[in-house]
């Protein structure tokens, strides 16, 4: 007998074979049954691992799309709600305008106007309710703020909301706002922007410029800013202002303009607050005794030369506790801070201090464009040892300085990194009288972006101006390249509200904003969108906002918020009636010589523009013409001066072509030419009543109408009707914005639905059981099982013993 007798089949073998077959059929049947019961092919990941992963992916996509779909539905409803509210607002405005037009006519009487005023008063309440419309707990025009955004207070309507866009996700990496800002929808709030414009009121040399209307703005209020000439031979040129005389309103420049000023040249002071760079605040303690003019803290050593320059330091403990001084120099080698004005007492070791300021973020550089950094190579002289400085993780100027100094320390280069003396760029200094080469590394442009790419191999690399913009944490002392902001304070009036804000306790812009907010005058400090200046937001509708200096200070001047006739819109004049011009020249000016020139004021929307128009028309700039125009801020009047030769004629302004402009500007006058020699004739206009800053909101329009009706003044009623028309346009624009968003959402909704259907199809294909297939399989397996069972019964029955006698 062979050892491997193929063909020998034992009873146990056939039993095992049958059983194995049965088990297999049964387990297949079980899986099919499980799949049929669950309706899913993928009852366990192991059934199809790839399919499982895919199915989870599809399900995730469907889940996300469902969430996005809900967001779309919610946002659409929200925008619809806003649109409906604005529709009602628009209707209200229409009725108000009808009332205004009816009451502006001669048939109306004081009594009917009084009655209409009551009606308008009710409309205002209705308007406030509409503006406070909520959808699902959120006011549709309130931005991110909670509570009711519009509150009737102080004779006006205050905006307690904010202008945040509430972002919602409508797809992967697709987010959009689901609200319309109150400014866009209702015209709420207005912005007092930093601004200082003028025109030369006297002939000066090329190194100075005088505008008498700037007199009293405060000593050195404008030092550190640039002055840009708008008209005349120096037009378009700018110079840094080094000094400003408040007594005469005279600017002195760092370098002279090409041409002398004759008088009449228009100019702007560019209100760029230009903060210095800083590595941010620090708290610490003096590590050694020092005189009152310096403070030594070794913990600051290595932070970079000049890194704390221009920041204000407050002493927390010791003899100088509570005192504040500005740092004028920082020596990184020893950790010594030097102060512009010495403290009252000497420092003892252990005296604690703090500097509170936010580090200049890299995103603030280059006028807010920011820089994205890679690596830079710094070499100790041409061909010398070098260090590669990786700046990719740096987020602020402190990180940049530390990265440089760490790399230099690690590589043993005798070079130190700090800030330049102007505080607006970096500086690399060789500590052993060698030269420095800075080059780009890895094909980037980091050295150029940081302004330290060297052409040759200088002893000191003084980086160029990195032009940082403002942040909430910027110290006021950092402004104007370290000249800082006068902290005497601001006097703010807003309608019936008035407050004086002292900035003595303020360190940062955030502190300034908190103090202004705390003054309760319904005005809020904001950083202008370009990050270069501060703005004051008027948040009380129907009220006039004005800002002036206080206590002989210059805070308002330096911030560019100073109330002046020049900055008014022409429409603000004459209690909101504006200045009506006619087509063609509006007024004619006759000089002492009898010569005349005409001035066209069409399109001159501000008082400054009107002054410029007159000055330009006078041709004085190029010809050395005798007539100049300027504003007298003390009386809020326009002033024209004829400084020319005496021809015996009177100096006069007359209206042309039926224009009301000369009258409305209060300058339709004649100055009699006195006998004898009088070199200068001055035509002083009537004082111009001008509103402060008002918003163009629906509330202001109706409040104005109500007040005009109450005071029975037809011309103001007519002006209010115009304002209502303008406000209605704003509301229509707001509705258009909401409508456009809703349409966009509709498209998104369709896309999401299409996608979801596609993914559901894919998911179903992947994970759902194919019933036809499963049923067929089930039948198949059942047949197999039955056959196996039948044959097993037969096979196991038969044995030879059955047949043995």
């Amino acid at each position: 007998m062979s050892l491997n007798p193929i063909g020998r089949t034992t009873n146990a073998l056939s039993r095992d074979a049958i059983l194995q077959g049965l088990f297999r059929s049964q387990s297949s049947l079980l899986l099919i049954q499980e799949q049929l019961a669950a309706g899913k092919r993928l009852v366990r990941p192991s059934v199809d691992p790839t399919g499982t992963s895919l199915a989870l992916g599809y399900r995730g996509r469907i889940g996300r799309n469902e969430a996005y779909g809900r967001n779309v539905a919610d946002a659409t409803a929200r925008l619809g709600h806003a649109d409906a509210a604005l529709g009602t607002v628009s209707d209200l405005l229409d009725s108000a305008r009808t009332i205004a037009l009816a009451q502006a006519t001669g048939t109306a009487t004081a009594a009917t106007r009084l009655g209409a005023a009551t009606e308008v008063g009710a409309m205002i309440d209705q308007l406030i309710a509409l503006a406070n419309t909520r959808f699902e707990g959120r006011a549709v025009f309130g931005g991110a703020a909670g509570g009711a955004p519009f509150v009737s207070t102080a004779g006006g309507v205050a905006f307690a909301g904010d202008l945040a866009a509430i972002q919602r996700s409508f797809g992967d990496a697709l987010a959009a706002a689901d609200n319309v800002a109150a400014t866009n929808a209702l015209g709420a709030t207005a912005l007092l922007e930093a601004e200082a414009t003028g025109s030369a009121t006297a002939a000066t040399g090329a190194g100075t410029l005088t505008d008498s209307s700037f007199a009293g703005h405060g000593t050195d209020a404008y030092a550190g800013f640039d002055l840009v000439v708008r008209t005349g031979p120096n037009a378009g040129l700018s110079r840094r202002i080094t000094a400003f005389s408040s007594a005469t309103g005279t600017f002195t420049f760092a370098s002279a303009f090409p041409a002398a000023f004759a008088g009449g040249e228009g100019f702007d002071v560019r209100m760029d607050l230009d903060p210095t760079l800083t590595r941010g605040g620090k708290a610490g303690a003096a590590t050694a005794a020092s005189g009152p003019g310096t403070l030594v803290s070794t913990a600051l050593a290595g932070d970079g030369d000049n890194a704390y320059n221009s920041l204000e330091l407050r002493v927390l403990t010791g003899a100088n506790a509570g005192a504040v001084r500005q740092v004028t120099d920082f020596d990184s080698a020893t950790g010594t801070l030097t102060f512009g004005t010495p403290f009252g007492a000497a420092f003892a070791a252990g005296d604690q201090f703090e500097i509170r300021a936010a580090a200049t973020q890299l995103g603030q550089l280059r006028g807010g464009l920011g820089v994205s950094l890679g690596s830079v190579r710094v070499q100790d002289g041409v061909g010398g040892p070098s260090a590669v400085v990786d700046l990719s993780a740096a987020k602020d100027i402190g990180d940049v300085l530390d990265s440089f100094n760490n790399a230099f320390a690690t590589s043993g280069l005798p070079i130190r990194a700090g800030l330049n003396a102007a505080g607006n760029g970096l500086e690399l200094t060789h500590t052993a009288a060698g030269t420095i080469v800075v080059s780009e590394e890895g094909g980037g442009n980091s050295a150029a972006l940081l302004g330290i790419l060297t052409a040759g191999s200088p002893l000191v690399v003084t980086g160029s101006d990195l032009d940082p913009v403002l942040s909430q944490g910027t110290q006021l002392a950092q402004l104007r390249g370290g000249l800082g902001l006068d902290k005497t304070g601001l006097a703010i009036t807003n309608g019936t509200l008035a407050g004086t804000v002292s900035l003595a306790s303020a360190f940062t812009i955030e502190d300034l904003a908190n103090l202004v907010r705390g003054a309760g005058v319904q005005a809020a400090v904001e950083i202008a969108p370009d990050g270069r200046s501060l703005s004051l937001r008027q948040i009380l509708s129907g009220s006039d906002l004005r800002v002036t200096n206080t206590g002989g200070g210059e805070t308002a001047s330096t911030l560019g918020w100073l109330d002046s006739l020049r900055r008014k819109d022409a429409a603000q004049l004459n209690a909101g009636s504006g200045v009506l011009t006619s087509a063609g020249p509006d007024l004619r000016i006759t000089t002492k010589t009898g010569a005349t020139f005409d001035v066209d004021l069409d399109g001159a929307t501000t008082v400054a523009a009107i002054v410029d128009r007159i000055n330009t028309a006078a041709g004085n700039v190029s010809l050395g013409s005798p007539v100049i125009a300027f504003t007298d801020e003390s009386t809020a009047a326009l002033v024209l001066q004829d400084r020319g030769a005496d021809g015996g004629s009177d100096f006069s302004v007359t209206a042309l072509g039926g224009s009301f402009a000369a009258d409305m500007l209060g300058i339709a006058k004649t100055v009699t030419n006195p006998a004898g020699v009088d070199p200068v004739l001055t035509l002083t206009g009537d004082p111009l009543a001008a509103d402060g800053l008002r918003d163009a909101s629906v509330f202001t329009a109706l409040l104005q109408l109500r007040d005009a009706l109450t005071s029975n003044d037809p011309s103001r009623i007519a002006a209010a009707a115009d304002r209502i028309a303008a406000a209605r346009t704003t509301v229509l624009d707001g509705r258009a914005e909401a409508g456009a968003r809703a349409r966009h959402l509709e498209l998104t909704k369709n896309r999401l639905e299409d996608e979801t259907v596609t993914f559901q199809g894919l998911l179903s294909e992947t994970e759902d059981v194919d019933l036809a297939e499963a049923a067929t399989k089930l039948t198949q397996e059942q047949t197999v099982l039955q056959a196996s069972l039948a044959s097993a019964a037969k096979i196991l029955q038969t044995t030879l013993f059955d047949y043995l006698g």
Binding site: L13, P45, S46
Partner: protein, 643 residues
């Protein structure tokens, strides 16, 4: 030559056929006995008697009763049984893991994640709504429960597998001592090899026990000349002649989990586990379960960290008058220090040149958290630090040695923090004025060392800058505590670029540090107004809710290559693949086993038909032999009565 001789000859035939019938009967009786090898009677003609020139046969003799058996096939069968045991055990482990993870049917971790992020989207629509806040917190709790449930089940499974290892070892001991006893009996029965087939049935019994033993643990067998079988597991004797070696379990710790490993009781040598159920169990406990748990922990940690980073840097409807961090760290040690391995370290000693310069013992008691390389994600405690060379002594060596350049952090924080800063925003609740204090988290290793922030320096910086409004301190157990100085003052946080707040657990959404400990922060659960929906004090600011919802698809895991969703999909796919692989292996192994079993059955199994034929044959032979005796008897009768 005599007639009486012929009678005797007939007798031998009768005896032989009787024996053959008996053996056939024995085979038939044992047709279904497991491990039984059919027996055959070897018959041999008795040597002839010389009669003149002829040789006359003298009948038949019973040579031996032999088992029909292939020794090498038995060995292969045992090996296969061992492999099948291991494969079945692992396949069962994966089947249980798959059951834990019942996501393909739509209710599991994946749907919990889905609901959580959907709730964040809802909160983004209604940031100030109490119901939306409560719902996100509820969904967070459900997500935490889902994580914890899976993790707890894995740990429970691990414990039960360890229990199975212990009972498996008892079984091995029982089998080994039984085999040793059979060895003694066989040697005695067979007279030490004198009569090799004397103990056929004892041998069958022993063979069956060897199969059983092989199912538990892979063995090799050597049969001695005396008939005893020595059993080796690896290179150690489990059974030597008539004695067996006792086996017990020793507890090991592998990646933080307890593993019971079989070892010889006498020597303590670990049992070599080349196969068998024990190998499968140990493999499951050591590798399969921890690997899955590790992945699950990574996912849970990713969710905790990312959600907490948003929560900690956002603002709720209420701000804090007092807050204590969830985690504590040594107050005076650098919070987190990045380093990279220098040279090839051996064992527990790791040198990092970039840590040289710190004072001796700076990092003692902190943990090394590996960031890159083969050990990424692992943690070891630093027992000692030498500042001159930057050398650390760790509490335990890594499984795979460090490679030069592998990056790590030395920290006591449960999550990563990096160089950056955060804003402490103090709100005067009466006026609404917000004062921002920027707190530096300095972790850039500026020279001279040590220059980096510690918890104590951060508390000191808060006090120096904002001391007039809030007070910061470090509690006895190393937690950061911040308290507002006056009742109308509240504080919150913003712009945390360092992730310090999330790492130490200040104002967190989830507490805990992995899938086993994840839970919604108790204080948040108690006061849903704490939930950060926005980044500013404005009640309807939804920035943070948006940011939380965005975590779902942000690539934050696996070094910024996978989102939470991607990672989860990968996890499910990998589990499915591994499970399918394990069950495929078990299935193919069972085919092989069946094949070998069939081969053995073909050779050694009992075929009743064959036995029936044999029975008939022997019956006929017996009848013929009887007829022969009768014939001889007739002859004798003739001779005696005729004479």
């Amino acid at each position: 030559m005599s007639l009486f001789t012929n009678l005797n000859l007939g007798l031998t035939a009768l005896t032989a056929q009787q024996a053959a019938v008996q053996t056939t009967g024995h085979n038939i009786s044992n047709a279904t006995t497991p491990g039984y090898a059919r027996q055959r009677v070897d018959l041999a003609a008795i040597e002839g008697q010389r009669y003149g020139n002829a040789f006359l046969g003298r009948g038949v003799a019973i040579g031996s009763v032999r088992r029909v058996l292939d020794g090498s096939l038995e060995g292969r069968l045992r090996d296969s049984t061992s492999q099948l045991g291991a494969a079945n055990t692992r396949s069962a482990t994966f089947a249980r893991l798959e059951a834990l993870f019942n996501d393909v049917t739509g209710q599991g971790l994946s749907s919990a994640l889905d609901s959580f992020f959907a709730a964040a989207e809802t909160l983004a629509a209604r940031p100030a709504d109490a119901a939306a806040r409560g719902s996100l917190i509820e969904e967070g709790a459900a997500l935490a429960d889902a994580f914890r449930q899976i993790a707890t089940n894995i740990v429970a499974d691990r414990d039960s597998l360890n229990q199975q290892v212990r009972s498996g070892v008892e079984e091995v001991n029982r089998l080994a001592s039984e085999i040793a006893r059979l060895n003694r009996d066989i040697v005695a029965s067979e007279g030490g090899g004198a009569s090799p087939n004397a103990a056929n049935d004892l041998r069958d019994r022993r063979g069956a026990l060897l199969r059983e033993l092989a199912q538990k643990v892979a063995i090799r067998t050597v049969e001695t000349s005396t008939g005893a079988v020595n059993v080796l597991a690896g290179s150690e004797f489990l059974v030597l002649e008539g004695t067996s070696a006792a086996v017990t379990t020793v507890a090991e710790t592998d990646r933080g989990s307890r593993v019971d490993v079989p070892a010889f009781a006498a020597t303590g040598t670990k049992l070599a586990l080349g196969g068998g159920e024990l190998a499968g169990l140990v493999e499951s406990v050591k590798k399969d379960l921890p690997a899955f748990l590790d992945d699950l922990n990574d996912l849970a940690r990713g969710v905790i960290y990312e959600v907490n980073r948003v929560q900690s840097t956002g603002t709720g409807l209420v701000r804090f008058s007092s807050l204590v961090s969830n985690f504590g760290v040594p107050a005076n040690a650098p919070l987190s220090t990045a380093g990279a391995v220098t040279g090839t370290p051996g064992g527990t000693t790791v040198r990092a040149a970039d840590l040289a310069g710190y004072p001796d013992d700076t990092f003692n008691g902190l943990e090394v958290v590996v960031r890159t390389g083969a050990n990424a994600g692992q943690r070891r405690k630093v027992l000692d630090f030498d500042g001159a060379s930057g050398t650390m002594v760790l509490d335990r060596a890594f499984d795979v040695p460090f490679a030069a350049g592998d990056a790590f952090d030395v920290t006591a924080l449960p999550f990563a923090a990096k160089d950056g800063s955060f804003d402490l925003r103090v709100t005067n609740e009466t006026t609404g004025a917000v004062t921002t204090f920027n707190i530096e988290v300095d972790l850039d290793k500026s020279l001279p060392l040590p220059s980096d922030s510690t918890l104590a320096t951060i508390a000191a910086e808060i006090n120096a800058e904002a001391g007039s409004m809030v007070t910061a301190s470090v509690t006895a157990d190393g937690r950061l505590q911040i308290t507002a100085n006056s009742p109308g003052t509240r504080f919150s946080f913003a712009n945390d670029t360092s992730a310090f707040l999330a790492a130490i657990g200040m104002n967190s959404f989830f507490s805990g540090r992995d899938a086993l400990t994840i839970a919604v922060d108790g204080q948040l659960a108690a006061d849903p107004a704490r939930l950060s929906a926005g980044f500013t004090n404005a009640a309807n600011d939804n920035g943070a809710a948006q940011a939380m919802a965005a975590i779902r698809s942000a690539k934050t895991l696996l070094g910024g290559t996978a989102s939470v969703e991607d990672y989860y999909r990968g996890l499910a796919g990998a589990l499915g693949t591994k499970s399918a692989e394990a069950s495929d292996r078990a299935e193919s192994q069972s085919y092989l086993e069946a094949q070998l079993e069939a081969e053995r059955e073909r050779l050694s199994g009992v075929n009743l038909d064959e036995e029936a034929v044999n029975l008939l044959t022997h019956q006929r032979a017996y009848q013929a032999a009887a007829r022969f005796i009768a014939t001889v008897d007739t002859l004798l009768d003739t001779l005696i009565n005729q004479l």
